[in-house]
Symmetry: C2
Subunit: 405 residues, 2 copies
Amino acid sequence: MLYKTLVMPTISQRGEACPPSPIRKLVPFSDEAKKKGIKVYHLNIGQPDIETPANVLEKIRTTDLKVIEYSHSAGILSYRKKLAEYYLQEGIEVNPDQMIVTTGGSEGILFALLTCLNPGDEIIIPEPFYANYNGFATAAGVVVKPIASYIDNGFGLPPMQAFEEAITPRTKAIMVCNPNNPTGYLYSKDELGLLRDIVLKHDLYLFADEVYREFCYDGHVHHSVMNLEGIDQNVVLLDSISKRYSACGVRIGVMISRNKEIIATAMKFAQARLSPPTFGQIAGEEAVNTPKSYLTNVLAEYVKRRDLVVASINKMEGCFCPNPGGAFYAVARLPIDDSDKFCQWLLEDFNYEGQTVMLAPATGFYSTPGRGKDEVRISYVLNLTDLRNAMKCMEEGLKVYPGRK
Amino acid sequence: MLYKTLVMPTISQRGEACPPSPIRKLVPFSDEAKKKGIKVYHLNIGQPDIETPANVLEKIRTTDLKVIEYSHSAGILSYRKKLAEYYLQEGIEVNPDQMIVTTGGSEGILFALLTCLNPGDEIIIPEPFYANYNGFATAAGVVVKPIASYIDNGFGLPPMQAFEEAITPRTKAIMVCNPNNPTGYLYSKDELGLLRDIVLKHDLYLFADEVYREFCYDGHVHHSVMNLEGIDQNVVLLDSISKRYSACGVRIGVMISRNKEIIATAMKFAQARLSPPTFGQIAGEEAVNTPKSYLTNVLAEYVKRRDLVVASINKMEGCFCPNPGGAFYAVARLPIDDSDKFCQWLLEDFNYEGQTVMLAPATGFYSTPGRGKDEVRISYVLNLTDLRNAMKCMEEGLKVYPGRK
């Protein structure tokens, strides 16, 4: 009697609602292309080819642990002290009690949402935005309210009015990424001042993802939300060492706030998951000692790559790519019907002399249906030779793509 | 006008509702005791003093990476293949596509809840249970429905009737930990068969935390939920290498299910957080090669520790400690008014010849208010000499504790 006809329990609604990664969803098509012997240039994902600093790698090889123990749930104290030194060098005054070391920047985003927003509360994010914010918002039951930024002004911050129109009684927070992934846009001091005013006026939290802080070009300076006056209690900084030191795999980030209640509450979620990874924290602590020349060289390399990509695309018929002020991404407008189709076609039906390029359709970075259909995100994380070949593939592809407009 | 009187945004309700860790909440009192020069024996936390296998440590020291990259979101394929070998040795047939490598067992618990339950859905867990399940349930908006297990039969599985009474239309899953943290109880084949029947009858998911699989004593054999017939689509296995190889700090676990929809859905949450830690996965892959003698020695050591703890407590006036069949925990009943007060008192107001012991009040492992007030959890993770001293402190403390009943 017990063994009746099998009725399966069902997957959760939020599980169904969680969007797949727009960056990774075309992977099966690139796998197929590779099987056919086609060389695929990966401009779809923010995995730099830059080497991790030698001192960081050496530190891991020479650390002599006998037992790989749990660490403090907020992160190893000596690492948090070292982080405070790093932030001071960046002009940001924070102390170890204002930090929770997280498992990648990712975990910090989840903690911030869980801590500050109730299910059904709304967070305003200028779009296009880092697609994985959707996954964390879905997990936390938080509603993302996108407001539009546009390629024609390089994706600058939407005006005050756009925020005001989007704010409802359920709005609890604004999230920005600066410099921006996917657009590469670097917010100005005035734009940050605007954010400050909105946050104060409407009693909102301000979450800022500043993982590309050092990646600013053309003499531009990065302004941190941590230095906006009068909103210490509203601001949560989300950071990561993944990009700064090309150490994505260590999974070490940090969540910082001067609001004690936020840190105390987030710590309860942090304690539940025990601690962030030990080797990553060891890497992170050593990384602060990395010679300045490392980053100088990396930045010089990225500027060359950006210049190549932006110039190449703007030379292609009917294409437009604004010049990004930071990070290592650009969003380009192409004369195509549908970026999802185009990116898949590049992998499935096209090659130029046995090579092709993998791009990220911009649709996945927009919440508003229909936006991004003529845009792609390009991660310029490959060396100049590969980038040049990739740009050639893109150019030749656009010439023969059946959905060209 | 913008700068009106400061009204702060409020912390989320779930943030307030999330309970602090019962294992870590007394830490400030132990810090104070140490400042006073008192030696504190930590039996409050499951951090073993056992050395991580030498081959694992050596592997990390000799891995020659140039770039610490993101890995596959489901975990490095070679590691998942190696894990399949490990499970086969344990009599469990699974393949790499049925696994998602997680950041500790912790992340697997969160993924399972997010994937299988909607906010407001209920999960039945025999109490006392691993306290951090509460944190993940709070994060996922899931309601924990405890059903009682009792110290008098060593915390065996509650009878069918107790499950039936707890099941409502919102019940979606049952969660067990086997061998159990905090009780050390090892479920029998019959008890697992009972779980199988309930799960089938009511179309429920069965989540099983088997991180202490190898820690079974007195010739008892571990039975995995993965080998229960006819419920492949219901079962999610949550596992971790933390305890098996004394490598808690690497933060590597795995979520396994033969239900493709569960894995595909959990993968969306896994992609959002990009990947589990690289060095932990390297450690995990090597750990499968650890000589069998490592675990044999570890188990022999734990049996001695358990025997010492159980015998010592049962000799103390008015105390009772069942003999746990697995893991490295025991729950003991003491003649005290309030275990939270007693554990705090041991740190704050007591020492025996300059030494004291830190225990975990069992209250934090129960959801039902009032339960566990005369019980403590003991983690026997220290060497025999320290354990003997700790037991002496407990014995002497009980003699003079003002709240003794």
